[in-house]
């Protein structure tokens, strides 16, 4: 089967067994791959109602058919499980080199269940899988583990957890070769619960392509489009943090735990151009990506001295910068490195600390509660101390290790308004008061507040124009809720595909949809049209929503936090809040959800999801 390796690896860590299975082409065509196929397997084969940290919860590492093809941006792979942070469907995607190497090692995915008695690593080398003792790797941070594993074989690709994953921090991340992170929804804790310290892959069997000649032609066109794209150029020059300056102007950037609307000194000190002029040592790329948006930074001296390593993304410049009133980019770089080493999602970690700082300012927690730390705004010594305490679950750090929602619940009713999350996942760093569509996208994303399971940001902020896919405006007014339900619906159906095709979100913005479609067809031989893509996207969204419905999600959970429903006093988003009811009512109607937010029977049948219909409607 072209594009695919043709096999999935199944690992049971309780029994210590590895086996493989195949999936019929018709099913692959229906769910494509990545997190979409993972959701279909999860629904079919596993008990949804287990505890996320129980051995039965499957951790899936899944490729899509474009991974390993060499096409720009197709290094992505998805990791999924029931999330320990949210208790619902969890997934995160990552670039780097692991996905293509897994494909070359002979597998489209790895599904891991069970729990080892003692720490182990899993090696997958050219079709052979082996479980072995982790030895002294347990307890080491992600950079150390990666270096040790690569010392023996430089070319091996590593997925590893750090102390946060071992200690079941609810927002623990999984690191990929030190430079890329599976950050959101706490999947590092699932890996830790299984006592799996690392997964190593190595292979030399490249996947085939259905039409090599056609592919070459499309590849050339893609490179030309990237060269011509200002979006790609800005990513290459400034990384994702290129968004900071413009975002401050348009009301996108959250400040002081979502309480302020504007601070140009912050954006100027923390922006992509500033990083380029100060701490950037080079740009770095995922496999086969000419965009090379990744930052490599070093802080050569001063209190925040940091060895050369992966630099912060825009989100991290917010969570450890604007959100906590830290004006020092060097300190953001240090915080980023600590999160990387401990293995923690920088969004959840920074946002949870921002919440704690606000609670401290309000007197809801005091110094004693905070283990004698001064939780004042911008106090980076406190931030670094807290990150360690969180990773090792020491004292107050153990409370914060639960994430904003659960930590606030522990800290009392007065703390709840400071937790800024949807379905237990902290909001990414884009303020829905400036962009109401983003608010709806947060409300409806299946993993909780998310900026990547859709293309709402690109569409609403005018970074892309795809009239060939669906009706859309060239220039949307961010501060209106009217018409945004359709924008979000379309943006999900197309944007969510990056998780099943496994193509980088940014490449969706840099490349024409025609080019992506044609590359996909040339690789797989599937002959998809735009409408097939959009149906696949709708199926993906609906499948995950149905799983969440089975896990108890309904209309009561599709809400924005109080902070976002409180108008700002200054900045481009001042005075504006999303009209939650209008957005939700319109969206439910378009998406085929009942008034209570359950996927309707008709919609499930229309999208070819009869098994889900049977489970949801007990047929």
């Amino acid at each position: 089967m072209n594009g695919y390796a043709g096999k999935f690896l199944e690992v049971d860590l309780t029994k210590g067994t590895c086996s493989s299975f195949t999936i019929a082409e018709a099913r692959l065509k229906k769910f494509i791959g990545g997190s979409s196929l993972a959701a279909a397997l999860y629904l079919e084969k596993y008990n949804l109602h287990t505890d996320p940290l129980a051995p039965e919860n499957p951790l899936m590492v899944m490729n899509g058919p474009m991974v390993g093809s060499g096409f720009p941006g197709t290094s992505r792979f998805a990791v999924t499980a029931k999330s320990p942070q949210t208790g619902i469907w969890g997934e995160a995607a990552c670039g780097g080199n692991f996905g293509p190497e897994l494909k070359r090692a002979g597998f489209d995915g790895i599904i891991i269940t069970g729990q080892s008695k003692s720490p182990v690593i899993l090696s997958v080398i050219n079709g052979e899988a082996k479980i072995s003792a982790a030895g002294n790797l347990w307890g080491k941070d992600i950079y150390e583990v990666t270096d040790i594993c690569k010392a023996e074989d430089k070319g091996i690709k590593v997925l590893a957890i750090g102390p946060a994953g071992e200690n079941l921090v609810k927002f623990a991340a999984i690191g990929n070769d030190k430079a890329h992170f599976i950050g959101r929804t706490g999947l590092g804790a699932v890996m830790g619960s299984k006592k799996l310290k690392a997964i190593l892959v190595r292979g030399n069997q490249p996947p085939g392509k259905a039409n090599e000649e056609k592919y070459k032609e499309i590849f050339k066109a893609a490179i030309a489009e990237i060269k011509d794209s200002a979006f790609a150029e800005s990513l290459h020059l400034m990384g994702s943090d290129a968004a900071m300056d413009l975002g401050m102007m348009t009301g996108d950037v959250p400040i002081k735990n979502w309480t302020l609307g504007e601070d140009f000194e912050l954006s100027s000190k923390l922006s992509g151009p500033t990083m380029r002029e100060t701490y950037l040592t080079k740009a770095h790329a995922c496999a086969n990506c000419p965009v090379a948006c990744k930052r490599v930074c070093a802080v050569k001296d001063g209190p925040y001295k940091t060895e050369e390593g992966p630099g912060p993304e825009y989100e991290t410049c917010c969570t450890f910068g604007t959100m906590i009133m830290n004006y020092d980019l060097a300190a953001v770089i240090k915080a980023n490195e600590l999160c990387n080493r401990y293995g923690m999602d920088t969004i959840s970690a920074g946002a949870t600390i921002a919440m704690a700082m606000e609670l401290y300012e309000k007197g809801i927690i005091d110094k004693k509660k905070a283990d004698n730390l001064e939780l004042t705004w911008g106090n980076m010594d406190t931030v670094f101390a807290l990150l360690k305490k969180i990773a090792f679950r020491e004292g107050f750090g153990s409370t914060l290790a639960e994430g904003s929602l659960k930590a606030a619940t522990q800290l009392g009713a007065k703390a709840m308004d400071s937790a800024v999350h949807v379905k237990g996942l902290e909001l990414p760093m884009h303020d829905p008061r400036g962009f109401h569509g983003m608010g709806l996208a947060y409300m409806m994303s299946n993993r909780g507040a998310c900026h990547l399971q859709h293309a709402a940001m690109g569409m609403e902020q005018g970074m892309v124009s795809w009239p060939q896919l669906f009706e859309m405006k060239e220039d949307y007014d961010g501060k209106t809720s009217q018409g945004k339900a359709m924008l979000v619906f379309n943006s999900e159906n197309y944007g969510i595909l990056d998780n099943s095709l496994s193509i980088c979100h940014y490449l969706l913005y840099c490349l024409k949809p025609e080019t992506i479609r044609d590359a996909f067809n040339a690789i797989t031989g599937f002959n998809f049209e735009f409408k097939d893509f959009l149906i696949s996207g709708a199926r993906d969204w609906t499948l995950k929503r149905g799983i969440n419905n089975l896990l108890g999600v309904s209309a009561k959970d599709d809400v924005l936090p109080k902070k976002i429903l409180t108008p700002l006093q200054e900045g481009a988003g001042a005075g504006s809040i999303p009209d939650m009811k209008l957005l939700r009512d319109e969206y439910y109607a378009i998406r085929g959800l009942t008034a209570n937010g359950i996927v309707s029977e008709e919609k499930l049948l229309e999208l070819g999801l009869p098994e889900l219909r049977n489970k949801l409607y007990k047929k």
Binding site: D228, S229, A230, F231, E233, S234, L237, M238, A242, D245, L246, M249, F264, S268, S271, G272, P273, R276, Q461, G462, M463, V464, S465, E474, D475
Partner: protein, 141 residues
């Protein structure tokens, strides 16, 4: 209110006057250094038979040269922006944000993009002031 024929010297003078008279611009643009040329691609169907080249120059909150030029002069600018007439018209009418047009590939930029990103407030202010000029567009006059 007087109307100015778009993309002419008179129109540029009116635009320059708006910028020079704006205290807000002076403050926002205090760090800006350098020239921007604007090329409007020909569109005979819209009464733009030839490309129009404009040279504009700004220095720490002041406005310097502001004139219709030839293709060679346009190439000398620190930043060179090019686009179809219909796109520039949308920008001048505030129907399309210039930054968005750039990202969507509807306008092209040659020059240091990091400088533009850092100074996006200045760009937006200059365009905001343009929208205050009462313009008679070539295909409307």
């Amino acid at each position: 209110m007087t109307g100015y024929k778009g993309f002419t010297q008179e129109w540029m003078d009116a635009w320059k006057e708006k910028i020079a008279g704006s205290k807000e611009y002076k403050e926002i643009a205090k760090d800006w250094e350098g020239s921007v040329s604007i090329t409007v691609n020909a569109d005979p169907s819209k009464n733009v038979p030839e490309p129009v080249y404009m040279f504009t120059d700004y220095w720490h909150g002041d406005v310097r040269d502001f004139f219709i030029c030839d293709a060679a002069k346009a190439q000398e600018a620190k930043f060179i922006m090019t686009g179809d007439y219909a796109r520039w018209k949308q920008v001048a009418k505030k129907e399309l944000d210039a930054t968005k047009a750039l990202m969507q590939g509807k306008l092209k930029l040659r020059g240091d993009l990091t400088y533009i990103v850092r100074n996006v407030k200045t760009i937006n202010k200059v365009i905001d002031l343009l929208t205050e000029v009462n313009t008679i567009f070539p295909d409307e006059g």
